[in-house]
Symmetry: C2
Subunit: 401 residues, 2 copies
């Protein structure tokens, strides 16, 4: 058995970001940049007004001064003349400062009468003026490769005059659920059968991680059936199987993959839930064999599949973020397997986060996992821990699971 | 001017969740449930083994006992006979417990030789047996309406034997950017012109919130042009405009909407950035008129559009979550407008979050907003605050912006 950390490192080794495609900036939300975005324009392109008001010469901006309004400059319609001594131009937020003016007096500090405006407040040079290039200048790098494109970054890319962006294409992940006992929802469930849920959970997780799931037909527990189903994964960047990754006589997934030339790296991690987990390669395609138990599969997805998808997507791949909370119950000594206790998370009277494990940690309880806010991490051989002591947790909300 | 809280309440009043559609569970990721999901099956459907091992009668499970293996029960293939005294059945995780057996002995605690198995550890009634219905029973409510369907909930819905789910359809949000100065990325930028970014930022934000953006053509700063463009929003649940929401002579958005019978609720919020913000209705369609300034538009999106999309989506609509941090710099007394300072967030040596505002808070700095981790909230007329004092913040990561 290897540790969780070693397993993750070995899964990530040899996984590379997928190739690059060009897409419209309008379609780029949640994509990962594959190249720098260099500003093609300067923003603002010229000195502009930061407010609605009057452009004047700062020397004229004395309290009580009355100036002659010689024109207006709505946004997009710069004033073409020159502002001379004793003159003002009406303008608005974003209007280009007219030549000769170097100060904006707010409209609420001015009284307009016909072509005259009287200033109730004095102003100085540069007042309420946004300098050209204050946000960015042409040639500035405004976004870096490896960034996930949220709304703000999309806005910056557009403002920098990029209609197209170079991003990593979406990783494709094939999912193969195996098991004679499995029926799809609504299909006939045989004796001893259960309704398949792993492929649904994993496909949703893969979507949440910004990748494209390809759900293969459920394969029966025979090596030849599994080998045949895996053929459908051609072109995928990653194959995720569930079920069959057992220490028992029935590890048919490994047997099925072996027929296709599977290169096994490891199949056992010192963790709970989820000890049996296969990692290896089929040619160029990485394979992750998750346990058939839905809770184990979900925990393995958080710990291993999420980082693998980050790496494929072009992001920095890393373990899920670990935070601190206080234990809401005493925890017993741990055995040699890293444990991941399903727990709720609430604030105590002092505002501290308290992680309280569910009394029943049976990995058969998918509904309990669904109610969990976090996993409490228990290191191998961790000593007993009193209620109120600090524990490491992984918050599940926001991880896509 | 009204407060941020009153503005949000008035925007949300009269907004209702959009209608319901039926979709495949496989397509339901990130949707919002519109009905309870009631389990149609019991999980596990029968008593099953929690481990790989041997099903025996607990009375026989004494250390050193040798039992006769009368068969095997792989998952999906229940053993049809009865386990009698002195007998055992080989089984695996998820296998149905055969009649007569009430205890599972782990395979690692047993030695198999031919048809005989010798137990190295004793066992008791119910050991390593998952009871039928331990996760859920047919008729149990496993998911509630108003829940966003993450991966775990999708898995539970499938396990409960639902191939179809009733969810709210995706809200449709029309976006209208206005301004004579605006050019689309790659298009010719006129004198005093800028490249449009708001509609890109807002469309991405709307996608991040699980809704569908409809980007209308940019409208010139003339009421008739705006009225014509707004016609394209027919069928949308919400219209978001940007630009023109000014206190100046050029509030052409209100003038354009007025031509279509706009019912104005308010247009001025005591906040910074973003004071001018229109809220009202056009017939059945709610209208939010955001400022043209990208930073102001983004902050208003976080404070108002996000909650509005939550309400439309069928979620509980609420203000963005407010957390605590320590101020990383002294903050001056605030004026009568609620302020939203763009800030970075880092942990100090004690592990406490420290929010440090950017030195320049000019609302023209879209790149600074893009680098911000949070907004520091400053209440109207808040007194000066020393470095290290607690402040309220809104974390931007995870809000879709």
């Amino acid at each position: 058995m290897i540790s969780v950390e070693e397993a993750r490192a070995r899964i990530l080794s040899g996984l590379n970001p997928v190739a690059v495609e060009t897409i419209s900036t309008a379609q780029a939300w949640n994509r990962v940049l594959a190249a720098q975005v260099v500003a093609r324009v300067t923003q603002p392109p010229a000195d502009v007004s930061a407010m609605d008001g009057y452009a004047v010469r700062a020397a004229d901006a004395t309290q009580g001064a009355t100036l002659h309004v010689i024109g207006a400059a709505p946004a997009g319609h710069p004033f073409s003349g020159q502002v001379g001594t004793g003159q003002a131009v009406r303008l608005f937020t974003g209007s280009v400062m007219p030549d000769g003016a170097d100060c904006v007096v707010l409209q609420e500090d001015a009284t307009r009468q016909g072509d005259e405006v009287t200033l109730r407040e004095a102003g100085g040079p540069g007042q309420h003026v946004r300098q050209a290039g204050q946000d960015f200048a042409a040639g500035d790098v405004v976004l870096q490769p490896g960034m996930r494109l949220g709304a703000r970054r999309i806005g910056v890319a557009a403002a920098a005059n990029h209609a197209w962006l170079h991003v990593h294409r979406l990783p494709r992940v094939a999912i193969l659920a195996t098991g004679d006992e499995l029926a799809l929802p609504g299909d006939k469930v045989g004796p001893g059968g259960v309704v398949s849920s792993n492929s649904f959970l994993l496909a949703a997780f893969i979507q949440a991680c910004g990748a494209v799931p390809l759900v293969l037909p459920v394969a029966a527990d025979r090596p030849e059936a599994i080998a045949a189903a895996v053929a459908g994964a051609a072109g995928a960047d990653l194959l995720v199987t569930t079920g069959g990754a057992s220490v028992g006589d029935h590890d048919v997934v490994q047997a099925g993959l072996a027929r296709l030339g599977f290169d096994l790296d490891f199949w056992k991690i010192a963790m709970r839930p989820g000890k049996p987990m296969i990692s290896g390669r089929l040619g160029d395609m990485k394979v992750l064999g998750l346990p058939g138990n839905p809770v184990s599969a979900a925990v393995c997805a958080v710990l291993f599949l999420g980082p693998a998808l980050a790496r494929l997507s072009g992001l920095t791949a890393a373990a899920p973020a670990v935070e601190r909370a206080l234990a809401g119950a005493p925890l017993p000594e741990n055995d040699r397997r890293a444990d991941h206790l399903r727990a709720t998370l609430n604030r105590d009277a002092n505002g501290e986060w308290v992680a309280t494990p569910f009394q029943r940690q049976d990995s058969g309880l998918l509904t309990a996992l669904t109610r969990a806010d976090c996993l409490i991490l228990r290191a191998p051989n961790a000593p007993p821990l009193a209620c109120g002591e600090p524990v490491d947790i992984i918050r599940l909300e926001g991880l896509g699971v």
